[in-house]
């Protein structure tokens, strides 16, 4: 596994005025040349505009891609085009080796968090017309790059798993018991925002503390723990157990309330507030014991 990172100004692809679509040295004539012109022309007729994107490229196995570089693509603009649409178009029309994760296209699968013009964003819910061109699309910083825009998510998943991310019931009822646990509307509202996390990793990537401390649980995992700790359906004893996990050396106290996670969260989860609240809960719990 490589540890290459996107450098802001690394190795720009040379401009080739002969190719209107893909300007990457990797895109050969046969692959895209004629088609590119055709698509670009059609778009010019329809909209008269293309969007210029610069996409980070890296592949540890492929000659010419082992050193990270940026490829330029000019993608015909359509109303409503998102950053994800633009890279999908570039892949399908210009260079099929352009690699990124994506699935639902509607901001719920959390696959396509990228570093777009210097900020962590979900590709599928970022309108490209809102961004300054050329739009620079890079993999999430502070994670190992596997290839192009794909980063290794294993560390993120490991941190999520560290906080025992599952409901723990003190007395599980018999299976044939057709009674739900009661929960007040207020308590459901309390955990609502925390339950929206889609595991995209944007917050973790934006966090300076996580960048410096590999063991820091990070905003997403702490928020996951918040969801359970604040849920009245779990008992007090389990809540205390959860707080003990969270107040360990690499837990909530590491957070320096810089709000970068909150700022990038595509689901608007008040991550920093949740972390602060857990700090207060931990203090309360300790006061009780002293």
């Amino acid at each position: 596994m490589s540890t290459q990172q996107a450098e802001p100004e690394s190795q720009e692809a040379p401009e080739d005025p002969a190719m209107k679509g893909a300007e990457s040295p990797a895109a050969d004539e046969q692959n895209g040349g004629g088609m590119v012109d055709e698509h670009a022309e059609k778009a010019a007729e329809l909209e008269g505009e293309t969007v210029h994107i610069k996409v980070f490229r890296y592949d540890p196995e492929v000659e010419g891609k082992q050193e990270p570089r940026f490829d330029d693509f000019h993608v015909p603009f359509e109303k409503g085009m998102t950053v994800l649409d633009s890279v999908m178009y570039a892949r399908d029309e210009y260079d099929s080796s352009l690699t990124f994760r994506h699935s639902c296209r509607q901001a719920v699968c959390g696959s396509d968090a990228f570093f777009v013009n210097g900020k962590q964003r979900l590709g599928c819910k970022t309108q490209i017309s809102d961004l300054e061109q050329p739009v620079r699309i890079e993999p999430l910083p502070h994670q190992e790059v596997v290839k192009d825009l794909v980063v290794d998510m294993d560390h993120f998943y490991d941190q999520m798993h560290t906080v025992e991310p599952y409901f723990q019931d003190e007395d599980t009822p018999p299976v044939d018991d057709l009674e739900e646990q009661r929960q007040s509307q207020e308590n459901r509202e309390k955990i609502k925002m925390s339950s929206r996390c889609i595991w995209c990793g944007a917050c973790m990537s934006s966090c300076n503390i996580a960048a410096g401390d590999n063991e820091y649980l990070g905003p997403a995992a702490i928020n996951k723990a918040y969801k359970f700790a604040m849920d009245d359906r779990e008992g007090e004893e389990i809540k205390e157990h959860r707080l003990r996990i969270l107040e360990q050396e690499h837990g909530v106290w590491r957070c320096q309330t810089q709000f970068s996670c909150t700022e990038v969260c595509p689901k608007d989860i008040p991550l920093t507030e949740h972390i602060q609240e857990l700090k207060r809960e931990a203090v309360k719990k300790n006061l009780k014991f002293w």
């Binding site: 399908d92 099929s96 699935s103 699968c109 290839k147 018991d177 739900e180 929960q183």
Partner: protein, 612 residues
């Protein structure tokens, strides 16, 4: 080679539930998924889970509504199993911590949904699927169930006896997306396919790009028939530019559909005089397109869904997610203006033919969830019935694969003495195999049935050769071109309104796609995270699945549920109370029919006129 008792392919709702059930039954179970579990498309389900939980409601009403919604093509034993088990399974999710919306007394909330005689759709905001997916993944983590994430299953390790009913499935062949390594996964007890829908066969779909019908295609080529594939649900409210889904919950809460004249057309033009916007999905989808066709569409393309009158408080409480979707993907503020909507491919009622225990006619091969056809949904699925299907039948498949006795199934599978052959439809082109098959079809070497490991090893070698061939080829056609052509043909000709001529045209284009696919190549030379390779293999699956959809649409010359035919605008119960089955037959597909089972536990469901 990896080895487990039960291998579950796919980690959405059905796969996760199957894995948990198999684990609880004591089996060593592993999940193999081309995504990470939390990326699965179950997470996009918005509306809810139908379950008869309240006093005044009961499972028999749920079963009746489902059978009526199916246009009498659901099999009663499956429909009743769903309705009977949904309450327990829903409450079980609550005990696993799923954050359902709540009533003032703290009980879980339920709301009205299309085609339901009682408000029994249990929900968690307008993001029920997201919560269901994450809650079940949490339980998988809790149990320490092994997950091979980002491993793409390419083929099943099935024996190659002439009669599919004699075949056995011993495992799967998968490749690690990150490294490109191809490995065999031996399943000592069984393989459960839970690979979701085939929505990517269409170009305007609410489905994720990962919904490529992989399980359908693999099971089909292994000999399990695909059932009722012509029944595709087009959801009445998808956003026009992207296909993003706007939940039926909007109409459940009181949202109203208007045409360009500002008329509430569901009532004004008599499409559904009683239920209006909450008629069954197929009824509403046809009404919308009829409005557009008659010149009363907005921008000649869509209609308006208005929820402004519900008020900000109620919208924020129950439909907040819808505001975000409309804003992010259509640039519309649902609080101040109506939302543009049109029908989009949403769900496949048909799928891999299975019985109530999730078992196909191939021993050891199971399917559950959208990729399977039990059949619960028949000609049309009711909103809120997909999620209970995942948990009820996912669980049963997992249990049965782990060796639990669930009793004798009433539903039969595979070719047998109770089926009727298709004889009188003329096909415009031959379906099935095109030229040399290098794509892991059954009986590659027509050889001897070896032991389990031998079968698996042979399949691994075939898969490796296939990938090498695709990667070594220097030029040819790229999958994206073929896929786009296929998707366009399906949306042009096998959509909400179907004609004989159109469907035949689609079959011809599908044939062209097959032939072009013989020349497909993978341009990306890397073994690392090669999505070009993965999509190329998926495209082959889409071709096989699209063909079965079009074949079914051609032979079924009647109008039932979501399947409408211009030349045959009536339901023909004397002739068509039967399931369409298509069998790959080693590359020369055959079509046959099995009667629908309308005899339930306590009553027979008599087909009635379906009006809302």
């Amino acid at each position: 080679m990896y080895e487990h008792d039960v291998i579950v392919v796919g980690a959405g709702g059905a796969g996760l539930r199957a894995a948990i059930a198999a684990n609880e039954a004591g089996a060593d179970v592993a999940m193999v998924t081309k995504l990470h579990p939390v990326r699965s498309h179950t997470g996009a389900a918005e509306g809810g889970i139908n379950a008869a939980l309240q006093e005044g409601d009961d499972w028999e009403l749920h079963a009746y509504d489902t059978m009526k919604g199916s246009d009498y093509l659901g099999d009663a034993p499956a429909v009743e199993t769903l309705a009977q088990n949904a309450p327990e399974e829903t409450i079980n999710l609550e005990h696993w911590g799923m954050p359902f919306s709540r009533e003032e007394d703290g009980t879980v909330s339920q709301r009205p949904f299309g085609g339901l005689s009682y408000p029994r759709t249990t929900y968690a905001g307008a993001e029920t699927g997201h919560h269901l997916l994450h809650t079940m993944y949490e339980q998988v983590v809790k149990r320490g169930i092994q997950v091979y994430d980002e491993w793409y299953v390419m083929d099943l390790a099935t024996t190659d006896e002439d009669d599919p009913n004699d075949r056995e499935c011993h495992g799967v062949v998968a490749y690690d997306v990150q490294s490109g390594t191809i490995e065999g996964f031996k399943a000592n007890n069984g393989v459960v396919l839970a690979t979701g829908g085939p929505g990517q066969a269409f170009d305007h779909t609410t489905n994720a790009v990962s919904c490529t019908g992989d399980g359908h295609a693999m099971a089909y080529r292994a000999g399990a028939p695909l059932e009722d594939m012509e029944f595709i649900q087009f959801h009445p409210t998808s956003l026009p530019s992207t296909g993003v889904l706007i939940s039926e919950g909007v109409r459940g809460e009181g949202g109203i559909l208007y045409n360009s004249e500002g008329e509430r057309f569901m009532f004004e033009y008599g499409y559904a005089n009683n239920s209006g916007e909450l008629a069954s999905r197929d009824v509403v989808a046809r009404a919308e397109l009829t409005e557009v066709g008659e010149g009363r569409g907005v921008d000649d393309e869509y209609v308006h869904l208005d929820m402004r009158h519900l008020g900000e408080e109620r919208i924020m409480d129950r439909l907040e997610n819808i505001l975000h979707l409309a804003e992010d993907f259509e640039g519309v503020d649902g609080l101040v203006e109506p939302m543009p909507v049109k029908p989009g491919q949403h769900y496949a009622m048909g799928g891999i033919e299975v019985d109530e225990n999730g078992q196909t006619c191939v021993d050891g091969l199971y399917a559950a969830g959208e990729c399977a056809c039990v059949s619960v949904h028949g000609g049309n699925r009711l909103g809120g019935n997909a999620l209970p299907e995942l948990i009820v039948f996912g669980k049963r498949a997992g249990q049965h694969a782990a060796g639990e006795d669930l009793g004798e199934p009433e539903i039969r599978t595979g070719y047998g003495d109770d089926v009727e052959d298709e004889t009188d439809t003329e096909l415009p082109v031959a379906p099935g195999k095109a030229g040399l098959e290098t794509s892991g079809s059954v009986a590659a070497d027509g050889g001897v049935t070896a032991d389990a490991e031998g079968v698996l090893q042979r399949k691994v070698e075939t898969a490796r050769e296939r990938v090498d061939t695709l990667m070594d080829k220097e030029d040819g056609v790229q999958h994206a071109e073929i896929r786009a052509k296929l998707q366009k043909a399906m949306t042009d000709y096998v959509n909400v309104f179907r004609t004989e001529e159109g469907v035949k045209k689609a079959l011809e284009i599908i044939r062209e796609c097959r032939e072009e696919y013989q020349d497909v190549y993978v341009d990306d030379p890397s073994r690392t995270f090669n999505t070009d390779l993965q999509q190329t293999i998926e495209t082959r699956n889409l071709i096989d699945v699209a063909e079965t959809i079009a074949l079914g649409a051609l032979v079924r010359d009647e109008f039932r549920g979501a399947h409408w035919r211009k030349e045959h605008q009536e339901r023909k119960d004397e002739e068509w109370l039967k399931h369409t089955l298509i069998s790959w037959d080693d590359g020369e597909p055959s079509i046959f029919y099995r009667p629908v089972i309308l005899e339930g536990e306590n009553k027979t469901y008599e087909p009635k006129e379906r009006s809302y």
